[in-house]
Subunit: 282 residues, 2 copies
């Protein structure tokens, strides 16, 4: 067996992210399954769930256009194993489609559901009033050690903190620390960033309360919305394997906090913005 064949084999091996978010449709029934690579503390990593829901919609034969807005509501932990998906085209107009999709498991009922808008985007006047924040380059940012982490999903991404890397080995902060972080995020096994990657990375920020309190506390994303500011053609024109993630929080009150996030290309393009509301116990 020559090197070329070996190369082809390596190249052809499906990426762990694509394995984890695989969906199949047979006889009108849509199904997927969790992957051991993307476990979180309780249930599947929300970003993997999100990308799976989005992939099912993108694979749907009636789908037209690229994802524009995606809201995922996390109702219950997604347990190990298979799940059913129920995509529904709610409304189609000339250039947009509104979809919903439920993820159900026998023991759980509905574990997650999403609402998505797909759009055929047209060239128009363009303007990006916001600027990419000043930040150390990807190449100059140290790789964050993930060897000891309990949740497998964290090892599926490479994090390079450009500002405010968390330290969970010391004592918790006495006074609240900053919730603001900048971190380069890519797949641990390199993979070009596509819209599915963006949908997952939107949930790959560490919980803001971990940074603010300097400790790990019970948390869970309740609802997350991501807006895509590029379409597949825009991303393909400028292939990248990592994005700069900028995240912050505004408020922690009565067991819920918010999180705002931006995903930037190294070239200074705002690819996506994302927001979530998160349960916490503190």
């Amino acid at each position: 067996m020559d090197a070329k064949v070996l190369d082809a084999r390596v190249h052809d091996a499906p990426h762990p992210f694509d394995v984890a978010t695989r969906v199949e449709c047979a006889d009108g029934r849509w199904q997927g399954a969790t992957s051991d690579d993307y476990h979180a503390f309780v249930g599947q990593f929300g970003g993997a769930t999100t990308a799976t829901l989005l992939r099912a919609l993108m694979q749907h034969p009636e789908r037209a256009g690229d994802p524009l807005a995606l809201t995922v509501n996390f109702c219950a932990p997604v347990g190990n194993g298979a799940f059913d998906l129920a995509p529904r085209l709610i409304k189609a107009t000339r250039s947009t489609q509104h979809w919903s999709i439920d993820l159900t498991q026998p023991e759980v009922g509905v574990a997650a559901f999403a609402a998505a808008v797909f759009a055929q985007r047209r060239e128009t006047w363009s303007h990006q009033p916001t600027e990419m924040p000043q930040t150390p380059r990807y190449e100059d940012s140290p790789v964050y050690g993930r060897a000891g982490v309990a949740a497998s999903w964290i090892r599926q991404f490479e994090f390079r903190f450009a500002e405010n890397a968390p330290n969970f080995t010391g004592t918790p902060h006495v006074e609240p620390a900053s919730a603001h972080t900048k971190v380069w995020i890519g797949h641990a096994v390199p993979r070009v960033i596509d819209l599915l990657s963006l949908s997952a990375i939107a949930d790959a920020f560490f919980a803001r309360i971990f940074h603010v309190r300097g400790e790990l506390l019970p948390i869970g994303t309740v609802s997350m919305t991501t807006y895509f500011h590029v379409d597949a053609a825009d991303l393909a024109a400028e292939p990248i394997t990592a994005v700069l993630g900028v995240a912050d929080a505004n408020v922690f009150h009565k067991s819920f906090s918010d999180q705002t996030g931006e995903l930037w290309s190294a070239g200074g393009r705002l690819l996506a913005t994302t927001h979530q509301i998160t349960y916490f116990k503190a």
Copy 2:
């Protein structure tokens, strides 16, 4: 008839906002209707639609807790007249509920649908890392003239711009102007701000592109998400009739732009954050 009786009559007259967002359930069928007071250029003002959907969920006998997250997807203009509402309790846990609700009209099909999370919020550690921006007080901000505006919904709110009041009477801007505005917003007929008010005011910012381009262009909200950072008890403890709305945009690209918004109490409390993606033609 003495003055006291007249006063009582005035007081008892339902507020236009409550009339516009009224919903009724008879024999398991939920219905509402548009109000002439809340027309937008095409169809009903999105904030009125939003508040109507939220009101239906809040009136549902199975509802528990206060709204925490609300995503509304606008599929088609809501035409004049009656509509049907289909609330669905997707999942309930010990302290949260996930709901969806569709709004349909015979000629349109699904014109809007929403996903909502309700939560029974519990006292916890509280922290608001973000601070209310420096801004002129409500009392010191001039009332924005709305007499000439074509869309009736604008006359249902009182706007007092604290920064960057728009001027649509001059020539459009040659260079893009700032998308950032600060504006006090209350109901034109004074009404204490409740969670329904917040859900409507979240869509009451003028489209960012109007500010940036200095002209009115065809636009439409496609999807809007609002996170409530206070519950009904928090709001009742500090009654207010106006909020400071801070809005901005990050990007305009290929016929869609985003909008970020914050709703503040005069006392410096972040009541809600809101985000939307908007179609534009330019």
